[in-house]
């Protein structure tokens, strides 16, 4: 389990109030004053309906300055702020640091024997009363083991999630979850310790709650709640290839570790969702996919010798055919894209070439898919885009036998 330091004062405070029902943990640095104000507001808004539940708000603030801030008397005596030591080694990689903080929150909740733990992103966008209520309801009343968020639909947001993470996670683990890697989610007390457990060999690995729930706790139901919050990710200075490599590499690593589990799973199950789905964001100006298409074309011209090591001849032939299409007719078929991702996952597993090179050679292909997607959905409504993504995810499920075959018999001839 991830090591979490709790100050003596905090421990005494936690022992005095007893085991909490719900730990609301902030996964990342946050101002103590802002958190106190927001927490007091939430407790007062929850009112008598949730008065029987004991909430504890945890935040990574076990530093002298932060502890001094937390020691200030609270206006609401029911408010319990528990600072914990933030993860000591920051990797500097966006999602690795977020995952480390999330694990620390979950480990704290497990050590306090909480019945539920709600993990909130450090920008506090999801720290709102009705969302806390929804997460609590799904875990405590509906007996869910894990509750993931459904963010408002946006055509052009979170494309790595829409194009790779969500459909791949769904095809592998059989849970129809929109955001398998999220800033906000909730877990039951039984799942907290399992999620917090960090294998020593994967110190900077990301936290994939759905994978853990599906493989280690298959008896616990997974649910979703609609979260009408929008997280601002600081994208400045982040290179697409680096982030894509980090996210895809981590998911491929999970695939490798959980191969014995996902090979037994067929199809997928719908997950219940609570709350009101937010309206999609307005379309705004149309997007020109040409720069992404140019990147794909440059990749297909220059990286063919690398792709030849990673992809079967049929996929290469299809890609070559795509490069000859006029830009307005460019469209990457769903099954081709699914097979390409599966082949890259296999190459990552087999170390066909250096893993950094495998992930680096993936970026132009991803941009090709983005160009195709942007062209296709530019005239669709949010609802139609959702339908399209559902159809897209089904194609991944239909191609899972291909992955199984390649995974089990990688040396077999594959045209």
């Amino acid at each position: 389990m991830a090591a979490v330091e709790i100050t003596e004062e905090t421990r005494q405070q936690a022992e005095r109030v007893g085991p909490p029902d719900v730990v609301v943990g902030i996964a990342g640095a946050v101002s103590a004053d802002e958190l106190r104000v927001r927490a007091q507001q939430i407790l007062s808004e929850l009112g008598s309906g949730a008065s029987s539940l004991r909430f504890v708000f945890a935040w990574p603030g076990a530093t002298p300055e932060a502890a001094a801030g937390a020691a200030q008397p609270a206006e609401n005596p029911a408010l319990t702020l528990v600072p914990f030591a933030p993860p000591t080694q920051g990797t500097g990689e966006l999602w690795a640091d977020v995952s480390a903080s999330q694990r620390a929150v979950l480990a704290l909740a497990a050590s306090l024997n909480a019945r539920a733990c709600i993990v909130i992103g450090s920008d506090l966008a999801a720290l709102r009363t009705h969302l806390i209520q929804l997460f609590t309801y799904a875990i405590l009343d509906r007996q869910c083991g894990l509750v993931m968020p459904v963010y408002p639909p946006a055509k052009y947001d979170g494309l790595i999630n829409s194009g790779i993470l969500s459909p791949l996670s769904r095809a592998l683990y059989g849970k129809r979850v929109h955001y398998p890697l999220a800033f906000d989610f909730a877990a039951s007390g039984a799942l907290c310790a399992g999620l917090a457990r960090t294998s020593p060999a994967a110190a900077n690995s990301l936290l994939w709650p759905v994978t853990v729930a599906a493989t280690q706790f298959p008896q616990l139901p997974v649910g979703q709640v609609h979260v009408d919050a929008h997280h601002q990710v600081a994208a400045e200075g982040l290179e697409l290839s680096a982030v894509l490599g980090q996210l895809a590499g981590s998911l491929f690593q999970e695939m490798d570790q959980c191969a014995s589990h996902w090979q037994r799973i067929r199809g997928s199950q719908a997950t219940p969702a609570w709350g009101n789905a937010a309206d999609g964001q307005p379309d705004g100006q149309p997007i020109d996919p040409q720069p992404m298409l140019d990147s794909f074309l440059l990749g297909s011209k220059s990286l063919e010798e690398v792709w030849r090591l990673l992809l079967p001849p049929n996929a290469l032939l299809e890609l070559r055919r795509l490069t000859k299409l006029p830009p307005d007719q460019f469209r990457m078929p769903d099954d081709l894209w699914a097979c390409i991702v599966y082949d890259f996952a296999l190459a990552w597993r087999l170390r066909t070439i250096n893993r950094v090179h495998v992930l680096g050679a993936f970026t132009p292909l991803y941009l090709g898919w983005v160009a195709s997607y942007v062209r296709e959905v530019s005239n669709l409504t949010s609802a139609a885009v959702e339908q399209r993504l559902e159809q897209f995810a089904r194609a991944w499920e239909e191609k899972k036998p291909y992955l199984l075959s390649r995974w089990r018999w990688p040396d077999r001839f594959n045209p």
Binding site: L94, A154, Y156, D157, G158, L159, I160, N161, S199, P200, A201, A202, V233, A235, L238, E239, L240, S241, V243, L244, L247, G284, Q285, I287, D294, S295, L298, G299, K301, S302, L303, V306, L350, R351, T352, I353, N354, R355, V356, H357, G360, A361, T363, P364, V370, V374
Partner: protein, 232 residues
């Protein structure tokens, strides 16, 4: 006169036959030692692989960011260790065989024995140079493409050949072949390439650079537009 020729031929034939007869046991000893070490190496490598598999060596190496695992892309780490052990034995077999050859012919074996470490060093240099050239060239190619450089392939090929030429010169130098010619030739070649590139860029793109600078100076300051697409 014919008698003298015949005698001379006989004596030279005798010398050659004598030489071969002297060398033959050594050659046989070389082959026997080589085959023996080959067999021992194969058995020990098999044993090492079995022991490492029993110790779950691959899983341990794959778990962390292990250097062995990263440098053996196609093979498992235990297979790689097994191969290293096998080739160590093969190398030892060659050395023992050559020294066995030495019991029959001192001059040949002395020269060969002295040259074996150089050959081994050169082979390692060649292998390392090739691996490095391939790795760096691929890194440059992928990075260049991800930076949308249209000349990424050219850049990668240039880097590859630079490393290969450097490796070739180092190998020849290590084998003590060519003497000063290699150093001189490499210096001229390398310096020539750099000079030609400098001339090509300096003269060929002088106008291009000046136009580009003028355009940059005249361009109004642009306000960064928010990105419409968010990948993450």
């Amino acid at each position: 006169m014919w008698q003298q020729v015949e005698q001379s031929l006989h004596s030279s034939m005798g010398l050659v036959v004598n030489k071969i007869a002297t060398l033959l046991p050594g050659i046989l000893a070389f082959i026997a030692a080589f085959l023996f070490f080959l067999l021992i190496g194969w058995l020990v490598a098999l044993l090492v692989r079995r022991i490492l598999t029993a110790m779950h060596f691959d899983e341990r190496m794959r778990g962390g960011a292990s250097a062995i695992a990263e440098w053996s892309p196609r093979a498992t780490p235990s297979l790689l260790v097994g191969r290293v052990v096998f080739w160590c034995f093969v190398f030892s077999g060659v050395v023992v065989g050559v020294s066995a050859l030495g019991t029959s012919e001192h001059i040949v074996s002395g020269w060969m024995l002295g040259y074996v470490p150089r050959l081994a060093g050169a082979a390692i240099l060649l292998l390392a140079g090739n691996v490095l050239a391939r790795f760096v060239a691929r890194s440059v190619l992928i990075t260049g493409v991800n930076l949308n450089l249209s000349y990424a392939r050219l850049l990668s090929m240039g880097v590859r050949w630079m490393i290969l030429v450097l490796t070739g010169a180092m190998v020849l130098d290590h084998l003590a072949l060519g003497g000063a010619i290699v150093e001189l030739g490499f210096g001229i070649l390398f310096g020539g390439i750099v000079f030609a590139l400098a001339l090509a860029v300096g003269l060929g793109s002088r106008d291009l650079v000046s136009r580009s600078l003028e355009r940059e100076a005249a361009r109004p300051v642009e306000v960064a537009q928010p990105e419409k697409i968010h990948h993450f």
